[in-house]
Symmetry: C2
Subunit: 338 residues, 2 copies
Amino acid sequence: MEASIQSPYLLFLADVPDDGSAKTAMGIWQWRRELCAGQLRLPGCEVNLGLPELKPAEAVQRGIRTMIVGVANDGGFIAPNWVATIVAALEAGLDVASGLHEPLAGVPEIAVAAKRTSRRLIEVRQPAESFKPGTGIKRSGKRLLTVGTDCAIGKKYAALAIEKEMRSRGIDADFRATGQTGIFISGRGVAIDSVVSDFVSGAAEWLSPAAAPDHWDIIEGQGALFHPAYAGVTLGLIHGSQPDLLVLCHELGRTHLGGFEGFAIPSLESCMETYLAAARLTNPRARFAGVSLNTSRSGEAAAARALAETSARLSLPCCDPIRNGVGPIVDNILSMAG
Amino acid sequence: MEASIQSPYLLFLADVPDDGSAKTAMGIWQWRRELCAGQLRLPGCEVNLGLPELKPAEAVQRGIRTMIVGVANDGGFIAPNWVATIVAALEAGLDVASGLHEPLAGVPEIAVAAKRTSRRLIEVRQPAESFKPGTGIKRSGKRLLTVGTDCAIGKKYAALAIEKEMRSRGIDADFRATGQTGIFISGRGVAIDSVVSDFVSGAAEWLSPAAAPDHWDIIEGQGALFHPAYAGVTLGLIHGSQPDLLVLCHELGRTHLGGFEGFAIPSLESCMETYLAAARLTNPRARFAGVSLNTSRSGEAAAARALAETSARLSLPCCDPIRNGVGPIVDNILSMAG
């Protein structure tokens, strides 16, 4: 993200049917809660962050500077029934930031309103850099990539939690955002799925440049290698990231890809084998350092049992970052890298 | 390709060092020789198609209508020393067509010259469609995808040869172009490596829509699944294409990826296994129908021996499309599909 976004934020939740469709807003709220001052929902919205419900004019009165389009749909387009609210936000005096594929400025009513009101449209999904194809040449520094058994399964959360835990131990670690939410949270990064396909691995190389030998880049994974829509993005990101270590992210009990019901998730063992084969093309020493298990749909006891069982079965530390943090994974990262 | 390109063509070979860098021009010349009326080379050019050497004004005198930028470099940009020639072509009265990543219209001198002369800039690498993510939903009709052990190894040539052989037998078959040269040759298609990465499999689904049960789409492959720069494009194309049959393309004696010397090409068996695993995500019945072996660097006897040996080893018909055509592969396609 090149343009700076002025806080505090009004999170626009539109009319999305579930938390997954609001993952941008939820991510910002989870990781930068101090910046979120209100939410704006349309009729039919099934997501509630518990923030004050504010209309654009009320938001401006409370000192809010930017409305963030915090939702996503398949294809990342601006739904026609969102346009009036976005225009109203501009007219009230807010900037509007979006991480959708479709640029805000591509909707004539929005472009005209931005011009008329002299407000800014901030498009984090429009790469500001021009990238080149990947080289496959090894870079200095250490890299960890989170990979997943599906989309929207906790890869960003795990990476942010690992960065936080490493920094708390005094380790030089940087979260590297590859998606809109991560970019909103960390203030920089590349929306890798918006990059022209020829340049995905090159963009991943750019995102995580050569660094000091003890520096860690903790790179946010995208998609899944066996996803019929997004596997190509995942593979290019793996090859360009050249991860030394991988962390597998999974949601306990999820058996099929979300929204792609015909597609079963392979066993964790099979996933790990597939990811390692891909990663070893550009880093033959790639290994798994742990498993991040989202157990939010289970009770305390069932979650603890699943974490212990998965850890024993795969001989890797297995954590739920939300329940218990990622301490054991970071212990293992340091031990493996040592 | 949406805009029609007026023939005959002047093929601009620039100053490229080898045939691989001129593969667009060479492909047009091989498959649409009747449209190629001249070549234009800069000092240092190591490629020669044996066409008349024409300056732009001479080309116009001979009735040529369009200069095609028939070369490529890493990154697909317009080299500064090509600009004067492109401007001269426009000033002489030629349209200019390009399949490079960088749009001609992005170079101010070229854009200004095109406007001044009212000539057209035709950019086949700029997708005219807007795509969506892939769905993974099976489509009617039959599909064959050529896949390779490297880039620039004969995937397009094999697909065109298979289309030609099938059509000569009265089979309803369409070549589906996924790269600039194929688009120039067939007059339509999608430059898949120019599509935003999130939409690659969706673009591949669009390229080869539902069709009659006996219709064959013969889809041009791209990249290679174990290529550090382009594997993501390859994987998305495979998933979206949902091929029933695959043909593996290889160059006899090539041991490493061109331009990526640290990267060895796996055994053909290993390549086939990797490709099948990827293809079976969206088409569990995917199988290999043959091997297309480029033996151009070998003598007649060595080539014949390699073809026979490879065929016996893999239990698949193995042809060099340039030496002998692809009859045995098409025999096998029909037998497997029957």
